[in-house]
Symmetry: C2
Subunit: 481 residues, 2 copies
């Protein structure tokens, strides 16, 4: 072909825009001619979805602050970015994307290379919908910028009007889902003064081991969050005259007053477009690109619409996170423009906190939990070790509990979970680096980590935990049982 | 021999007591009979030397809080700990330690295994001594608990008496030495309200590259510390009637008012005992045990009296730190009792901060600086990358500058330096883990690190720096120059 390579990217958030810019960068470095068009169904690009709970909590001044790079800036940098342009169908034979633009006009875009970066969407449970299929008033997910604006409206409108609405103790919130969004929204709602109930199917933060979840749950309870675990929502018990939620009823029959309800029950990959065109998807419904990001000849996928390879188990997993989206997008963009790089896979590293007034807990994980290790057929030894975030004699010292899992026999690290006070959780990255390098528990116990009293104990909490587990595995090996 | 193995440990701080307890633990696990005697010349055991500046600053309630384990507790755990008992001579032929006890009585202790854990002592410059060889009043190092008590006395006595002493602007402090102790004591003195001058031979924190040191220096200057770099103390310019310091004169002729002077010019290994007995010492004067901690047949050494192997260069280095002392002590104790473990070497990881009022800088390093890499004959590429400690849109976001060095060609990580605001520095451990595993800059750029807005940017500052250096090394390889 004589003309430039035509790249079409569907989706203008982290994965899509990383792919777009890296493709341009690589093609320029190689002296190739390449043009990139990005179709985005919403009106937004390159924003921090993870920042939305903090915007709702009041920590972010303005919606614009959440936008990492504006549409105008993307265009200046050479990307033909088309907002409110929704891809409607892929024709992989004719190599054309059908789309509908902001004026509801239909069009076609031919491509040589196609990047699917359509992200994920919030799961909306049936009980949250009204008779016409719309959301019952007062209920909303927390996924994109428009959701954030909706939440600010919901919370701003009636705040302080509790009494007028027949809630003498103030307005009531119910958070459905005990994962990251659930915890973060519980923080936002408590900090905004709402009496808050959290309903979760199993334990809170079920990607942690139950003994670690219990430590998280204890802090939320102390902060006044009513925790309903091992339960689900059965129905919306009552609405007001305007059809807005007033009560939630759990499968256990518990009735929870609710003026606002956070739908935090997870996300699902938005892969319908490719699936309809016959592109491969995995168990979660996410695309399954190879390590170069390629899904089919000239078709690439990246970000929350994809599964990824778990670096420890080698299995496909669905871990929709901005960190992976950025790296996967960059990888796909680099390769489609002539590069040759690999996405190294995921460890399931994650971090968050709940902080409201004096009640604060930081939580982080990487690698496999006990349940995940068992499911992978790995014989794990594990131990929870208590410590402090700083030298214990400093007044700022906060407790930290570290759980480490290592494989019996090989002594290879399998996973780490941290629950602790301010300053505890970011050390999960040290564990992630050790896991990334397939190191043993002895490596972690022996490595040269930093120490000064305001930052750690002389055996850093993580390293103390590794040393104790190393000792335990050794004595278990001597006396199996 | 029929009786128990007799272990004598000289020195009852981190290395010595770690060795003592691990020897007991290992011998019990192996069913061996072993008795441990520890000789300690001072009256203190197992205290946090690193905590002393914070005690002086007022962050620690009581001297006892700095003691990790009391003498009584050590004895309950089976160690025959003898305080104020100074080893005076080693007889390696007869396998006897000569010592002098608290009552100035002399004695001998036979041993089968000997552990040298005599630590390091503060360097006292000649100009700091009076005619009789004692310290000039108002000048003191910051090394052990007694030094800490002396400092509390120095600062407590005259504080607020500035005017009476002819200092209408308050009492004046001079810190000599721009290393960790210098920075930490500058913090303590500024926080206690003294006008403080810091004099350092080269740049402040000279184990960092000059461009990173400059960032540290800028914060100290803003906090009101007068910085005199590339200078040394020539003499004590004046003393008062009681022989106490009033002025310091630098080699550049600058006269600094000084009511108290911190002697923070470094430490030297306390290895005279072993050196006199013919045991091997390195260039620094520190013992040079092997990776098992063994120095000679039945003679072991651990902690600040030792050199260690740098994991990147393979060279002997003198890095006296509590973290190594604990690990080396544990290693020696384990091996002398029949275990077989190795000390993995050091990376030169270190961390500290300067924090006074609104002025705060966290600093950390691991691996090689540019000068160290050059000295080791390694061709390093490097880059300083700016970022923020949290998502930039949160009000708590603090700046962080990360400098990464990697070897050209192999792309192996060589070193990382971090200078930033609150929450910046502890991520040095992630770099240390990567260096420990001999990973490349691409590994660091690709690994699955944690992200949530209160903890990091979506590309963590460290990872962003790695990615940029990876790109730079690649384009340098294409266009060498």
């Amino acid at each position: 072909m004589a003309g430039p390579t035509r790249v079409v990217v569907i989706g203008a958030d982290a994965a899509g825009m990383s792919a777009a810019h890296q493709a341009l960068r690589r093609s320029r470095a190689l002296g190739r001619d390449l043009e990139v068009t990005v179709l985005e169904s919403s009106g937004h690009t390159s924003y921090s979805a993870c920042g939305i709970p903090y915007w709702i909590a009041g920590d972010v001044d303005d919606q614009q602050d959440l936008v990492a790079r504006s549409a105008g800036r993307h265009r200046e940098m050479g990307v033909d970015l088309r907002l409110e342009a929704a891809a409607t169908r892929l024709d992989l034979t004719r190599r054309v994307v059908h789309y509908r633009d902001g004026q509801h006009a239909y069009g076609q875009l031919p491509f040589d290379e196609l990047v699917l970066a359509t992200g994920a969407r919030a799961v909306i449970p049936d009980w949250a919908r009204d008779a016409r299929g719309g959301l019952i008033g007062g209920m909303h997910p927390v996924k994109n910028l428009d959701d954030g604006a909706t939440w600010l409206g919901l919370l701003g409108a009636g705040l302080g009007d509790g009494e007028a609405e027949g809630r003498p103790d103030g307005r009531r919130a119910v958070v459905v889902g005990g994962g990251y969004i659930g915890i973060e929204m519980a923080e936002a709602l408590v900090r905004r003064g709402l009496r808050t109930t959290l309903i979760t199917r199993s334990e809170v933060m079920s990607s942690f081991d139950p003994d670690m979840s219990a430590r998280i749950s204890a802090v939320l309870t102390k902060a006044g969050v009513e925790m309903i675990t091992h339960s689900q929502v059965a129905s919306v018990g009552a609405t007001d005259d305007g059809g807005r939620v007033r009560e939630i009823v759990t499968t256990g029959g518990q009735v929870c007053p609710a003026d606002v309800v956070v739908l935090g029950v997870g996300v699902t990959p938005a892969s319908e477009l490719g699936a309809a065109a016959g592109l491969p998807v995995g168990r979660s419904g996410g695309y399954t690109p190879d390590a170069r990001g390629q899904l089919a000849d000239g078709v690439w996928a990246a970000g929350d619409c994809c599964e990824a390879i778990h670096r420890i188990t080698g299995e496909h997993v669905f871990v929709p996170l901005g960190t992976h989206a950025n790296k996967q997008g960059r990888t796909a963009g680099d390769n489609l423009a002539g590069g040759d790089v690999r996405f190294g896979g995921v460890l399931g590293t994650a971090i968050t906190r709940f902080a409201a007034g004096e009640h604060e807990v930081e939580i982080a994980r990487t690698g496999l939990s006990t349940a995940e290790a068992a499911a992978a057929g790995l014989a794990a030894g594990s131990l929870v070790t208590g410590g402090t975030t700083t030298a214990g004699y400093l007044r700022d010292a906060a407790p930290i509990a570290t759980k480490i899992l290592a494989e019996r026999g090989t002594r290879r690290l399998l996973g780490v979970q941290i629950v602790g006070g301010s300053g505890a959780a970011k050390r999960i990255d040290t564990a992630a680096a050790a896991l990334w390098g397939a190191m043993t528990v002895d490596d972690l116990a022996g490595m040269d980590l930093s120490y000064a009293p305001p930052f750690a104990t002389v055996w850093d909490a993580l390293q103390l935990a590794a040393r104790r587990l190393a000792d335990r595995l050794e004595s278990d090996a001597v006396r199996p049982g």
